[in-house]
Amino acid sequence: MLEFLIAACYYAFVAWIVVLMVHNLVKSRSWEREILYVIVLLPFVLRLLRLK
């Protein structure tokens, strides 16, 4: 049960980071930062989809 809760918190945290990264991507005005956000997003999105 404890392991399930920790895993659930972990995935919620990952999802929150994805939301923040997408928000930053939308607000960004510089292409360098947009590429940076997309690169950072990739492993988080794959993790959310449980692709490892």
Binding site: E3, L25, R29, L42, V45, L51, K52
Partner: protein, 387 residues
């Protein structure tokens, strides 16, 4: 549409162009089906979940191939895939499942003892996701796998892994190591539950001898050896002497340390009536000083940096430019298991297991492992299973 939006769309598309192939590769790797063409000697295929509901249908469940002889006798369990990143153990078990015929007693063969660990590779280690064994009819592809259960199936890891029931402190990551969680427990982690299920199998099927097939890095002192529980020392010594004398390769014996817990050679013997043995073959791919981590190195066992380490006296097994090819490693295991069956049957005739059809060391080295793997497309569909 503004220039800003177009630029963002292009950047996102570039990201998807990277993410989608990576995701598809991970997805396929985790679900890749490995065919098993059942030997005529396979009389029944069961699952581990039939022995313990706690693993039924989970990533900890796996297939059990039963080969029952016409004459009554004993029962021997062969575990391949405890550590899937040690492929000679799995492939040797595969050769039994596809070739063995049992005349007396029962042989139970497991190809993916830790099935969860077959679905992942080591993070950050640049492992290949699979490897191919050439055969006369094409090639057979197998998952690479890892030493530990997939974190997608069991997570998080503790700071320190406290082994049950000894309470010995072990490395945190070994909470997902099937060869550190014996004898397991019904309310434990997925890996502990799998070990518990195997213990139930061993007790219910009255297993006499349990053999666990492994490979080891050359910088690890327990290599080219049989690790034996104290009740298996006589059998291991007999097998070691016979193989070294008759088959052209050296294999030693080690006694299972009484105070090192969680390993099959210790806990199966302590918690059941079975004699437990663990076989180690050399695998340079696992050495920390290796060069490129490729399927070619995995199969050829050739690596110039490991050879260099040997020249500096840092290894516990010899290596030269010929390396340790997969056929040599698989052949060592098939001969070791066959010799164990013969020696056990001689010393315990009433509980003997007599098996034929499986190639020994010299045959595997001469013809290659793939020579003994059947073409799934040419086999009757009911005789083809998937791991």
């Amino acid at each position: 549409m503004s220039a800003d939006s177009i630029r963002k769309a292009v950047v996102v598309l570039l990201g998807l162009a990277v993410a989608i192939p990576a995701g598809v590769s991970f997805y396929r790797s985790r679900r890749m089906a490995e065919p098993v063409v059942l030997s005529p000697g396979v009389t029944e295929v069961r699952t581990l979940g039939e022995y313990f509901d706690g693993v039924r249908g989970t990533a900890g469940d796996c297939s059990l191939y039963f080969l029952r002889g016409k004459e009554p006798g004993g029962t021997v369990l062969v575990l391949g895939g405890t550590h899937p990143e040690e492929p000679a153990g799995r492939l040797a078990a595969w050769l039994f499942a596809e070739n063995a015929q049992v005349d007396r007693g029962t042989l139970i063969v497991v190809l993916s003892a830790n099935r969860s660990a077959t679905t992942v590779t080591r993070p950050g280690a640049a492992y290949p996701d699979s490897f191919a064994i050439p055969t006369p009819w094409g090639e057979r592809r197998f998952r690479m796998g890892d030493r530990w259960s997939n974190p997608l199936d069991q997570w998080p890891d503790p700071e320190v892994f406290i082994h049950y029931p000894s309470r010995q402190a072990l490395a945190y990551v070994d909470v997902r190591n099937l060869n550190r969680t014996w004898p397991g427990r019904p309310n434990g982690t997925l890996t502990e539950k799998a070990c518990y299920a195997f213990m139930q199998l061993i007790r219910r099927e009255r297993v006499d001898v349990a053999v666990d097939l492994h490979e080891a890095e050359l910088q690890y002192p327990v290599i080219s050896t049989i690790v034996a529980h104290e009740r298996g020392q006589e059998l291991a010594t007999l097998v070691s002497m016979t193989l070294t004398d008759m088959e052209g390769f050296k294999i030693g014996t080690e006694f299972s340390p009484k105070n090192l817990h969680g390993l099959s050679h210790r806990e199966i013997g302590d918690h059941s009536d079975a004699v437990s043995l663990l076989f180690e073959a050399p695998q340079p791919f696992l050495d920390a000083t290796r060069g490129k981590t490729t399927a070619e190195v995995l199969l050829s066992g050739r690596d110039e940096f490991v050879v260099k380490a040997g020249q500096h006296g840092l290894l516990f097994e010899k290596i030269d430019e010929k390396g340790w090819p997969i056929d040599v490693r698989v052949g060592r295991h098939t001969s070791s298991v066959l010799q164990t069956l013969e020696s056990w049957s001689e010393s315990s005739p009433a509980r003997g297991v007599v098996c034929r059809g499986v190639p020994r060391y010299a045959e595997v080295v001469r013809n290659g492992t793939g020579y003994y793997l059947s073409d799934p497309s040419a086999a009757p569909p009911p005789r083809v299973r998937f791991e």
